[in-house]
């Protein structure tokens, strides 16, 4: 395999993560993050940090992932008659809607590489919805964009969650008429 400049690799992977959970541009010239959403998405949530961690088992494959995305993006653009500017890697140069269409195709049932792209998407997603690269309590305290947007409530001072109220506390339905004395179906 040939080399791939680090910035090309990172920008391409960021653009993929941003397609999974879209976010706000980090600066006016941001190309990798397309700015489809006004709030932080997978990239701001730490997707690159997570997939670069060897615990995931995909960190050594990221150059291959970026190269493959680049190739798929060129083929996709050619097929769609899109002209990509040369200022950014091919996948990054795709408009957000076209990135979405390509990722949809790569992860669709029957695509020969589906399992690989689903795996990459899974970790991008987990960076946002569970901050799997961070201690959860620390992530919440630091205002992690995913956990915060989902409304995950913070733990107590000891880092553990406890709820003092959990129930409406009253009967809300009739029981099944054939329930046994131990509470099981008959």
């Amino acid at each position: 395999m040939g080399t791939l400049p680090d910035e090309t690799r990172t920008a391409t992977l960021e653009a993929f993560a941003d397609t999974i959970v879209p976010g706000a541009r980090r600066h006016p010239g941001d190309r990798a993050v397309a700015g489809a959403s006004p709030t932080g998405g997978a990239v701001a949530a730490g997707a690159i940090e997570l997939i670069e961690w060897d615990a995931t088992g995909i960190s050594e494959d990221l150059t291959g992932y970026a190269r493959s995305l680049d190739e798929h993006a060129r083929a996709f653009a050619a097929q769609r008659g899109l002209t990509l500017d040369g200022d950014a890697p091919a996948f990054v140069a795709l408009p957000f809607e076209e990135r979405t269409a390509l990722v949809r195709a790569l992860t669709a049932p029957g695509h020969p590489e589906k399992s690989l792209w689903v795996l990459l998407a899974l970790f991008c997603y987990m960076a946002y919805d569970s901050a799997a690269h961070l201690n959860t309590a620390d992530a919440l305290a630091a205002g992690h964009p995913g956990l915060t947007a989902m409304g995950v409530t913070p733990p107590g001072p000891d880092g553990l969650w406890r709820y003092s109220a959990w129930s409406y506390g009253r009967p809300l339905a009739r029981l099944h008429p054939h329930t046994t004395a131990s509470g099981s179906p008959a």
């Binding site: 959970v21 088992g57 992860t107 995913g146 109220a165 129930s167 029981l175 131990s182």
Partner: protein
Amino acid sequence: MNAVERTDVLVIGSGFGGAIPAYHLAAGGARVVILERGPALAAEEFEHDFKLGSSYTRAFDFVVGDGMSVLGGNCVGGGSVVYFAAMPRAPRFVFERRGSINRRMWPASLSRDTLDPWYDRVAESISITQQGWEDVSYAGGLWAAACHHAGRTANPVPAAVDTGTCVNCNWMMAGCRFDAKQSLLLNYLPAAVAHGAEIRPLHEVQRIERTGDGRYRVHYQLVHGEDYRLTEGEGCIDAEVVVVAAGAAATPVILQRSETALGAMPHAVGRYFSGNGERLNTAVINEDRVRDVLGLDRGDGLAYAANQIGKGPTVANWDRLDGSLPEYTRYSLEQLYFPPGLGTILALTGDADWFGLGKKEMLERWQSWLIIFQMIEDDNEGVFGPPPPRGNADRISQQMLGVGRLTYNPTANTRAAWAMADADCKDILERDGLATVTPWTNDLVGAYTVHPLASCRIGDDPHTSALDDRHELRGHPGIFVTDGSAVPGALTVNPAMTISALAERAVPGIVRAARERGVAVKYGAPAPDGSTSGRSGTSALVPALLRD
């Protein structure tokens, strides 16, 4: 050459299927060694943390297959440590199922009536709470109220949870920090150890062979404590009797890998796998409608917004658990909590997207999600391919994630049952604008089960069952299978109680086999805490199980 270590009974796996026989055999006087592929974790090590490497990922295994992915326990205590502790008994009609090949699936000797005394033994051994409405979480209450609004019934689910200790943190899938969940770490396993059983964590069994003098030799590898992709040595132990209870996604793999040394396996080893018919739906709740239509109010200004609060499933709809209905139209619909990570990616938006802008907006309403868990009757369509080089999966991540060899192509029966249950969820929860309901997608990692079953099942028909009705592997006397793989098919309810009752019932037969091989072991131990009333309930059933 050093002498190979010897024991009387070697138990593979420390979940329900392993812990229960291990306790009884040790209490009866046998030397028992339990090999567990996962780590040993104590309550203070159960973390509230989604970070890779926390107890949440150390104690679980997520094995991706072709058409079916399986979530299972991977620690001392197995599924009992990570499960949601729902412990209903299986409805009566389940034991009469015939499946699409129109043959009785269960042994003729088993029915709800003949299993009830064994269920009672489990209930005496694992403290099970019949939850009241005051124990039911907001999510369970919402599901009950929606069912009632739709003219249905709803039941609080019996659970192995001490509701007085439980703090409703909903972290029980990472192990219960507060020992409120009555896992096997609190009953059968410490009792087994007290009677001399040894539990060896991070020992992953690979295969079984026969020794020249008629014993079984069990080969294992030592798994690295943090990075499960690595091994740190290997060993073997000889035993008179082997109990395989590695879980329905691993037991058949060990037996398949043993075939070259042991001889042909029964046809049903690694076939007839059932995912217990499981499928999930996500309802995104309209908080205003819940208040206006159902009259629900938490008393703090919120109607619901409580997805995060609770203790897994607390309420189920059992209206379709009716033996007069045709097979494949009977199912339960159970409220469930599913944590983020694996629990959100598969949820679909109203536009059927699993990623992108619409999904991000759906995630912003996560606290208003209500997850409904369907358990239908599937068609036992899962088949295991040739085993991977080690364990039951090619591990990708340091923990949790691997690719296995299970193929599952849902039949028309299974798909129709899921569609019927989907429509029922929609009917109940979209009524009067309460919610928008979508099923989880099967297009990413296939269907998804937390209750793998039937991959090495009991039965009377040697062509469709790997085990006789006493759980002995056909053609391989002295090898028993007592985990979820022995359950013949989908149960329409959570299976832990049934797996446990079957394991209790299997013990007399294992004792008989051990005695035949010269092991001085007796049957008849009380419950782990010394209680004896369950023992008297099964006493009339035991002689037939002990007899040749």
